[in-house]
Each structure stands twice: as C-alpha cells, then as structure tokens.
Symmetry: C2
Subunit: 453 residues, 2 copies
C-alpha cells in the first residue's frame, strides 16, 4: 500500500497544529504543507508587539521554521507557495510557487484547509498608499516596522477600535510615545463588549492621551508622492504620518467555495465537531472555518489563535484516524491597552438578545487586589444570566492589572453550564496581593443574585 499523502493548505496555527497531531498518529504518512507567506507557524497575535518594538527580531514570533518541521517531525512545509484551486473529484490541488512563478499540481488522500482569514481593506482613494498597513500576515508587520524605522513617524491614525486597533494604538502611544488618533465608525470601541463596558475602555484610551473619534465614517486618504499624508473622514481631515487599518478580517474560504464545499455563517467553511467539511476527504480548521457557539448552539465564526489551535488539533487527530471533537467555543477574548486590561466571554447583551434569551445582568466596580494592598486598581465586571434558570450567559471584565485573566473563571463556568449560584459558591483563590476574599467575579455574581431576587 502506498503511503498516505496528506496536503495542508496554510502553515500557521491551525495547519501546523494539525500537522503535528497527524504525524503522531500516522508516522509514515507524507505530510506536505503549502503556505502562501514566507513564514510557517508564527504568532499573528504577536505582530503588534513586533511593530511596537517590544519583540525583536521578527523571527522570535516564529514558533518553528520549515527546516525544524522537516527535521523534527518530517513535515514538509513549502512557504511562498499559493494554492490556486482544488479539484476534489481528482484529489489534486494546483499550486503556484510565488518565487519562481511556476505552477504545478499535487495529489492528496486527505486535505486540510487552514487558509486563515484576511484583513478587510476598503476600496477607497489612496488606500494602497505607502504608510498604510492592514495587519494580517507577518510580512505586513515587517513592512510596517521598516516604515517606522525609516520614517520615524510622530503621528499615527489607527482605523478600527477592535483588538488589533487597540493593540496598535497601544504600540504607538505607550511603547513608541507617538501621538495617536483612533477612529471607529461605531459609536463605541470594542464592538464585542456592551456599550457601558466599552465606555470604560474608551476612558482608558483617552486617559493615555490618544484622540478617540467614534461614529466617524472613513472616506479616503490624501497622499503625496505615493505616501499617505492625511486621513479623510466625514468629520474632517486628520494629517498623519502613517495609518494602521484594523477593520476586521474575513475567512479565506474562496478556494473551498470554488471547489463546491459547503459554507456556513460569515462564509466560513462549514465543518462538524471533528472539523470534517461537506467532502469526505477534506477537513478545515482555523480562521477559515466555522464552529459552534456553546451558549446558543448555533454556527459561529471567530478568528482567534486559541480557537485555531484547538480546531487544528482536533482536525489533525481526526485526519490521523483518532477521535477528537470540539463542541464549540465562547468567543473568549482579551487584550491590553497600555496598563488597561479587557476581556470577554460568552454572550454580550446584544448577542443574548439576538439569541432570544430572557436574561438579567449586573455590573460591579471593585478592586483587583485587597483594597489596602499596594497596587490595587479599579476593575469592572459585568455578568449576564438567564432569568428563571440563573444559568450564566456571558461576562465582561475591564480594569487594571490582574483583571483580564479572571474571565477564564467565567469561561469555565459557562462551559460547565453553571448558574450564578454555582459561581458564588466556587472556592476560588485569595490572598491580598491577588484578590479580595470574594473574587470580583463572585462579587458580580452576588450582585446579579440580588438583582434576580
């Protein structure tokens, strides 16, 4: 019997997690990865910190190089190779070597699509000018960093107040000491947070001197000699030395769609709990694929490294003939803006309403440590729970050092189907440098219990 041949399209978190699992289960299989960019298995989430100058060189973001994959796991990773099309009937893919420009075909017994997601880039005047960067792949981060090193910009405009936007605004304002203007078309930053919690985040952003312009429509850019000079919004013109666009990402599902694979919510590739697609020889994992929201039971799409790693692991085990499944996720995410931490999990108020839940919520303001302990900072916790059952639906936390990772308590409670009562009864850890005797999430739980009567 010939060796099984497994092709993987995309050599980042999901693809390489899968490759590692497959190698463990199928020691003899041919495992070949085609990656469009010049890097394998790097931390995309680390790009803002590389641009900031907190991390260098860029190779520190690379977890394992193609040479290391070959040597340690006998996995062949071809970077700068773009897969152009899939022929699922024939079991072949068409590939372009981006360095030579030559096209060729390769055959597979099993195929994993781990094509990731790409930044949304608006079709606007000047959007391709020098000095404007849409962070997605490491190459763009390297280009942004080179631009900064070369031109020493003093003012940056960041467009989009989501995770990437906040992290880039932090990089410029708090690490590089630049003047920053942060623009969003929404009336709040961080759209996955409730407006009241986003207000605290906005106050923290303004508190470090960043100009925050919400509810602003981006019209275009003015350029000079091919280089960006200002950002044009409905509210006026903002002169700037550089621009970062963080307008969100979309799943790279074009190959899958063209090959006839079923798509799901947000046009992400539809997969089951073991990451199997609608074609028996094809799996999909990571930012290009859909999953399930554990609180609604409905298809859900989120582009996060945590989820990509989990999906990749499950896909790899499944493709290797093992048993694994990922029942779903909670959209747990966190970020830091200078010293301010933000985190969320489960359903926001808007999401809970859209899902048809009848629920109540409570928000509390407390301290990150015992109030008397040096360094205690303000934090806010919001909890949502279903009326009647008391089942927790979601949580949001913003505040000083030690705030964000507490969302994991809520995420674990959500996964377990816990009620607010269960949360209040938890035996969580306490010492004055870390907490009060009731952890802040439990203080929020007690407040919610009181509200629920």
């Amino acid at each position: 019997m010939a060796k099984e041949r497994i092709l993987i399209v995309g050599g980042d978190a999901a693809g390489m997690s899968a490759a590692g699992q497959i190698r463990k289960l199928l020691p003899d299989a041919d495992i070949v990865v085609y990656e469009r960019s010049g890097f394998s298995s790097y931390s995309a989430c680390g790009i803002p910190y590389y641009v900031a100058g907190l991390v260098e060189p860029e190779t520190r973001l690379v977890i394992r190089t193609p040479d290391e994959f070959l040597e340690k796991q006998n996995i062949r990773v071809h970077t700068k190779h773009e897969v152009l099309s899939l022929d699922l009937g024939a079991g072949t893919v068409k590939i372009r070597n981006l360095e030579t420009g030559g096209d060729f075909s390769d055959g597979f017994d099993k195929l994993l699509l781990a094509t990731g997601a790409s930044p949304v880039v608006p079709q606007l005047n000047g959007a391709r000018a020098d000095g404007i960067f849409s962070l997605g792949v490491l190459e763009t981060g390297i280009a942004a960093r080179k631009f900064i090193d070369q031109h020493r910009p003093r003012h940056a405009v960041v467009i989009g107040g989501g995770y990437i936007g906040l992290e880039m605004a932090e990089a410029f304002a708090c690490v590089r000491g630049m003047k920053v203007t942060l623009i969003d078309k929404a009336p709040q930053v961080m759209s996955t947070f409730d407006p009241d919690m986003a207000e605290h985040i906005a106050a923290a952003i303004r508190g470090i001197g960043t100009e925050l312009r919400l509810g602003e429509t981006l019209l275009g850019f003015s350029t000079e000699g091919g280089r960006v000079r200002s950002v044009i919004i409905e509210g006026g013109t903002i002169p700037t030395d550089m621009v970062i666009m963080g307008l969100g990402v979309r799943p790279n599902s074009q190959l899958a769609e063209a090959a006839g694979l079923k798509l799901s919510v947000r046009d992400a590739i539809a997969v089951d709990e073991s990451m199997a697609t609608s074609h028996p020889a094809v799996w999909a994992a990571g930012d290009c694929a859909s999953t399930t929201h554990l609180m609604t039971g409905k298809p859900f799409w989120v582009a996060l490294g945590t989820v990509a790693n989990k999906m990749g692991r499950v896909a790899g085990i499944a493709m290797g003939g093992g048993e694994a499944s990922l029942k779903g996720v909670l959209g747990t995410a966190m970020s830091k803006h200078c010293a301010y931490e933000v985190a969320r999990t489960g359903l926001s108020t808007r999401e809970a309403e859209e899902a048809g839940f009848v629920f109540q919520s409570a928000v509390i303001k407390t301290k990150t440590r015992a109030g008397y302990y040096p360094g205690a900072e303000t934090m806010h916790v919001k909890l949502l729970a279903e009326e009647g059952t008391g089942r927790l639906l979601g949580g949001q936390i913003v505040g000083g050092q030690g705030s964000a990772k507490r969302v994991d308590i809520i995420a674990t409670a959500l996964a377990a189907g816990m009620t607010v009562h269960d949360l209040v009864d938890l035996d969580l850890g306490y010492a004055p440098p870390f907490s009060m005797a009731w952890d802040p999430v439990q203080i929020a739980g007690r407040s919610l219990l009181a509200a629920m009567g």
Copy 2:
C-alpha cells in the same frame, strides 16, 4: 411577639458576614456580636503586609468598625468581650468584659459561633519571650510591628514554612531587607503542595537570599533580659533579633465542645450544609467549623478567609430564615513570596492517595506569557486526574507573575466535575501579554492526556 435576639460569638469574617445577611432578612431582630479582640471585621490575611510596612495604619485592615456596624446596619458589636461559656438549655451565654473584668449573661433565640482559630504555640523554654510572635489576631500584628519599629531587628527567624511563614519571610526579606532564616520540621515547605512543586518554592525562597532549614526540630529559645536572643534547633543555635511562629492554627471549638455540641474532623465544630450544628438553635461558621471536601465528600477543615466568608454568608441566610447551602470547598489557596506565586486547589498527591483514588499526574514547565513577550516568566503546573474517568482531582501552580490566579480555572473545573478532556477544550482567554494560545493549565492537561494514553 418579642424581637428575635441573635447572638454572635466572634466579630470577624464569618461572624460579620452572617450578621449582615441576618440584618437583610430580619430587619427587626436584635443582633449582638461579642468579639474577644479589640477589632471587628478585619482582614487577618493582611496582617503580614501590615507588619511588613506595606499597609498602614493598621486601621486600613479594618473593613468596618463597630460604630459603622451600628450606624449602617443596626448591629451591636462589643469588642474586648470574651464569651466564657454557653448554656444551650437555658439559651444564655456568659460573657466577660475584658476591659472592666466584669462578667454578665445574655440570652439568645439563635446563636452563631464564629470563634475562629488560634495559632498553635509550642510549650517550649522561652516561647513567651519578648520578640517572639505567633500571628493570629490583629493585636499580635500590631505588637510585632511595634517591636520592629522600636528595635529595628536585622535578622528574623520564621518558624513554619506554611502560608503565614512564607508571607512573613517575604515581609522581612523583600520589603524590609532583613536577613531571614526559615525553619520547618518537615522536609519541604508548604505541606499542602506535592514535594516536587514545593522544591520550586524552596528554590525561589533561597533565590532571594533567605536561609531555608528544613527537617529541623525546634527545641526552644535562649533569652536575655526577657528578650529572645536565639532559636535552638536540633541542628544548632541560630542567633536572631526576633522570631515569628507560623506553626498552624487550631479551631476554637472549646466553647462548643464544653456545651455539648458535636465536633468533627480536627475538632472543628460539626455543621451541615447550612451551617447548623447539632443543636437546633446554634449555627457555626468560619475557622471554628468544619465543612466538606468537594472531591472526597468527606468532612474537611481549613482556616481560610474565603471559606469563612462563604460559611458566614450561608449561616446568616439560614439563621434569617432563608435558603442557602455550601456544599463544600476545595482547599483552594494561594500566596506570594516576593515575586514568586504559589497556588493549589483540590487534592494533592498525598490527599488523593489517602482518599483512595487511583490517579495519574502530569507536571509541565512553561511561561506565564507568550515566550517572546517581555516579562514572560517560568511557571510550573501540576494536574491530577482519576484514572479511567479522567476526572480532575487537583492542581498546583507555582511561578512568576500571573501564575497563581490561574488555579481558579482548575478550581472551577473541579467544582463542575470536569475531566481533563473538558479542561483542554475550554475556551480560555489569550493575548501575548497574558498567556500562550494554549493556557498553561491546558498545556498541563494535554500532557496529562498524553500520559493517560
């Protein structure tokens, strides 16, 4: 009908938590608290930080004074009043006013015993000398602080390598810059941790210059003019300027025992899930009472502020006629020794063996943040899970900043009865300043899954 009269013996975490709940449910009841010390409702866990000089004045440790209790909640707190005996048949208690020396009686309809725990003080030569302190109540902390301010000791001996011992050694070594010798009769520090994890803690203690002497038997003290001059152990004589004893605590259950109430493990007062004792008019809560260990289902005693607060809340609701219960606890505890964090929850290896579990464990070494992110420090995670079912039994974490509070993920998973698989599937939060894409507790989970085959 006469107003219901509720007496509470002990005005700290459990007693005052209960009092507050009773007041909410019974707006008209007489609520009277007798407290032996001079303070109500203070953070006993904060005493080491007060002695260190990180917190001052000592009144910052007091959450609410007797005057505030009277004014805000109409709760009468009599400090410096010691309850001498209970007559449960008659429904009376005998009290001594420690300031006047006068004795009197008071009657109750319902009684709560929240008498706390007291430090174990060995009967050894010189143990009562000036300069030797057994931290238990705030007054001792104040005395220790006064001694330091007056005598400016340069070398302290701390006896007992548990939580109090480590926190006091931190106070002396890292805050006050004193030379510290830490002695324990056991071959390891922190007896609620497994020996391999305690090794890392010991290395951290030694790493900051503290002399650690394990397996040493304390014989006594030599004194000069009534003041301690050295600590005598089997291994020799250690000259010192002051001594802190942290030899553990015992439940103050003498009153209860003398009154004929049923005792439980470690001679703590036996209570049910609503904190009711063996007498229908008497409840008990806090360090003087027993609870249940959630993993073994067996009676368990632990003296921790978190548990005392929870027990007090439940006792108060029950005494007020409401419904509440505390099914049990996990022994979750954490501490910090200078920059080194330690935390544990559930069963240790020894406890799991004693409870008769067949289990496996895994220990991993990883980083507190993404490896490339500045400030990433080493941390170790140990997990125990039952063989066959994969049910988690316990976890221990030691390491740099951000390590300890992660034990809450494990504590929540334990309370939910989760398996190692469930833990690995959790959607925990990630961003490079906080974690890797797989949280360290999940990396430990994956390692344990691999070990379990």
